[in-house]
């Protein structure tokens, strides 16, 4: 198999990998399978990616990018800060329901430095989106907070934490269960409601 140019082939690989990963999970997908799907040799994959983990990261980065862009779009175009914060929860919901099989969790537990950095960066970016919306709320007189940044960190951490405490038992290896995550989303909305009241001007 051959693509028109380098970037095109790289993208085709990412597409095929994403399909396999979302359907069967990343760890249950072999490099051979991806190669067979693309009617190319396994060695070709290694021409475009350093290793399987690198490919997994690239897949995550790609879909993560659209996730964050959607959120950033919302942050920019929002009229009401309150509505925007609730919209973020909805965006998160639809993202997770689509990509819950991607073993985000497994990668996080890898403890490899690059992955760790990626996750920390993602956390930071999400936090900054929250900060931007809160800042907007402060500017319009909707909110009143002492320190926008600290408030955004707190909100992000509190919302994320519900992922661990809403389920009664925390499974170590399992990826995210969709039904369970719906309950997390519900609680995130409830918390957001109280939190917003707590920072209303």
């Amino acid at each position: 198999m051959q693509a028109d140019n380098k970037d095109d082939m790289r993208d085709k690989i990412l597409e095929a990998a994403l399909k396999r990963f979302t359907q069967y999970g990343a760890s249950k997908t072999t490099m051979n399978e991806i190669a067979e799907d693309l009617r190319c040799s396994k060695a070709s994959l290694y021409y475009y990616f350093p290793d399987k983990n690198g490919m997994h990261q690239a897949v995550l980065q790609k879909i993560g990018e659209t996730y964050f862009q959607e959120m950033e779009m919302e942050a920019r175009n929002a009229t009401s800060a309150t509505k925007a914060l609730f919209k973020l929860v909805e965006i998160r919901r639809s993202f997770i329901s689509r990509f819950c099989r991607l073993e985000l969790f497994k990668l996080l537990n890898d403890c490899s430095t690059t992955v760790q950095e990626l996750m920390v960066a993602a956390k930071k970016r999400e936090m900054e989106i929250h900060a931007a919306i809160i800042q907007h709320g402060v500017n319009t007189g909707e909110f009143k907070v002492e320190d926008v940044h600290k408030t955004a960190v707190l909100l992000t951490q509190a919302m994320m934490g519900l992922r661990f405490t809403v389920p009664d038992v925390v499974h170590k290896n399992n990826d995210i269960d969709v039904a369970l995550f719906e309950r997390v989303i519900e609680q995130q909305k409830a918390l957001l409601e109280v939190f917003i009241k707590g920072i209303k001007a």
Copy 2:
């Protein structure tokens, strides 16, 4: 070795086990070591406890009982609901700093039914303490909430969740790091502040 009566001996064992567990961790403590500390035979321990896990649970239940009683005392005697909620955080702080080596986490991941039930019960009890204080706040006109119970669940889950999101990396096997937990406590206080504003009458 011989004690005056059955309950007394049981208590001596729990005391010795607690000492070992807090110093070296439960999994690194052998039944022989506890027996040697007490100058009794290992078999004696099995006269009072069904197995090591049962003993570990009993130790946890014992110290947990004083923890909850301290909290319940605060809930009963509180004048201001706001102050009481902040006091709970302080009680949690001092409890964790004393018993962070008890491998609470390991037991939770055991997934044995009885332990799971114990943890769920503990969660519920803590939640009910929060509910009682919030109810008190509602009665005195300090707070205004639609559903006291739901609010208490939300607050408890949000506070607990910070245990997982405040540290950048979540260690799987390690027990709680004291220094890290201080940061968790700080965020719990910050969240509580906003949360309380959000439910102020």
